[in-house]
Amino acid sequence: MARIDSAFADLAALDTLAALDSPVHRLDPRVKVLTALVFVVCVVSFDKYVLAAMAPFALFLSLVMAVAGIPAGYVLRRVALVAPFAMLVGLFNPLLDQQPQFFLGPITVSGGWLSFGSILLRFGLTVAAMLVLVAVTGFHAVCLGLERMGMPRIFAVQLLLLYRYMFVLVEEGQRMHRARSLRSFQGRGLGMRIFGHLIAGLLLRTLDRAQRVHMAMLCRGFDGTIRLRRDMRLTLRDLLLFLLVCLLLLALRRYDCAQLLGRLFMGS
């Protein structure tokens, strides 16, 4: 349960970050969602051996984080937490692809290692981008933004309710778990059978709560559609910034900045 505890402390921290105020926070959610999308598409569409050309994207992300006041440690820790998945994906690359690509002094770097690094970097960048998106926008604003851009409302509402009641559900589950572990000695009563009862109890409580929530909605005139307040305003500044950032990202994708810089300095 400690793991779940800390995972939820994390989510709460994300909420706190989203409540900060910065030029990035003030942008329209739609602009941020679309920018994140362009960013991710650019990053994942790089060729499999590319490493250095992705550096400017990391720089871009750091810049956004700096302006928004998102602590780097927070994002890096989250990325490290999920990194094993990416490692699993790229695990066999160094073994399967041993074609030497270049030499770092005495060390031969094979294509496999290069693509492994590339996978890790890509993964890190996309996960970090999503984290930063939620941290500078807030989960509910992301949902509302998606809804404004055409995601069916029912999905948006589902996501919002899921996010709202996840906290209540986890707290309830924690209380049940605590009550059980306080009365189980030498591991007795911690088996699967009892766990099943616990989950069943949680399900019944959830159904009860769903009924009460529905009743509360009906009391306030709910007729089947949830109406969301539309207080998003897309300003000219938002649009210009969006265009500018998109152009920048596409340019970074098209031209290998690292190589250009290298050439400039080495004069070749």
């Binding site: 709460a12 909420d15 409540a19 989960f139 509910h140 949902c143 919002l160 309710l161 996010y163 709202r164 009641y165 906290f167 209540v168 709560r209 009460r212 929530v213 009743m215 509360a216 909605m217 009906l218 009391c219 306030r220 005139g221 709910f222 007729d223 949830i226 109406r227 969301l228 307040r229 539309r230």
Partner: protein, 252 residues
Amino acid sequence: MSHHIVEVLDLIHTYGDGTAAVRGISFRIHHGESVAVVGANGAGKSTLLLHLNGSLTPQGGSVRIGDFPLTRETLPEIRRTVGMIFQDPDDQLFMPTVAEDVAFGPLNLGLPPGEVEQRVTRALDRVGVEHLRDRPPHRLSGGEKRAVSIATVLAMSPDILVLDEPSSNLDPRARRLLIELLAGFQHTKIIATHDLDLVLDLCPRTIVLKEGRIMADGPTGAIFDDDQLLADCHLEQPLRLQACPRCGRKQA
């Protein structure tokens, strides 16, 4: 003004599992009255309350709110008139932010955006939590959640407020603030509670329920003086009316 009258006649409700929760309750509450509904656990308080805005439909007898009997057709109007505040604020606050939640009712009434905004601000201001408007409800304290729940109902400008255990799970200060807030409202108030000291502060009239029937209906003072009645209904005198534990004297 006759349109804020709450009239219940021979109300009967039996749940699906055979529990007869309400067995023939009748009363009439006038405009601006503040009435407490008290009784032991399972006496039928919550079931009665759920009938007052049509969350449950009467199986026998009738409910009238103002000039309308409670029927399918009058339901929307009655739900606007009767603001229901649930026991668990987590059930009532289901939207992602406080402002969004307070706006839920007015938006469903089909009000224009400007008016909705005005009502949200006014309601939050009335309960003194304007500063919480952009916070997610799951991060509020118990007292804040309660205040916001009340604001969600006020935003629909109801004439009658129905509260189920409003002071449960509140710390003493939050409870005191709640009592002061409710005392300031002009609405007709119907409060189901175990907190008899709160009743003493807010409700001149009390209805005592036992096993789905009305045992007493009258001035709060007279009811709280009737020790036999209170004992029969699993109740106790409010602490303030009991003898002082230090000196043994009763309050004058």
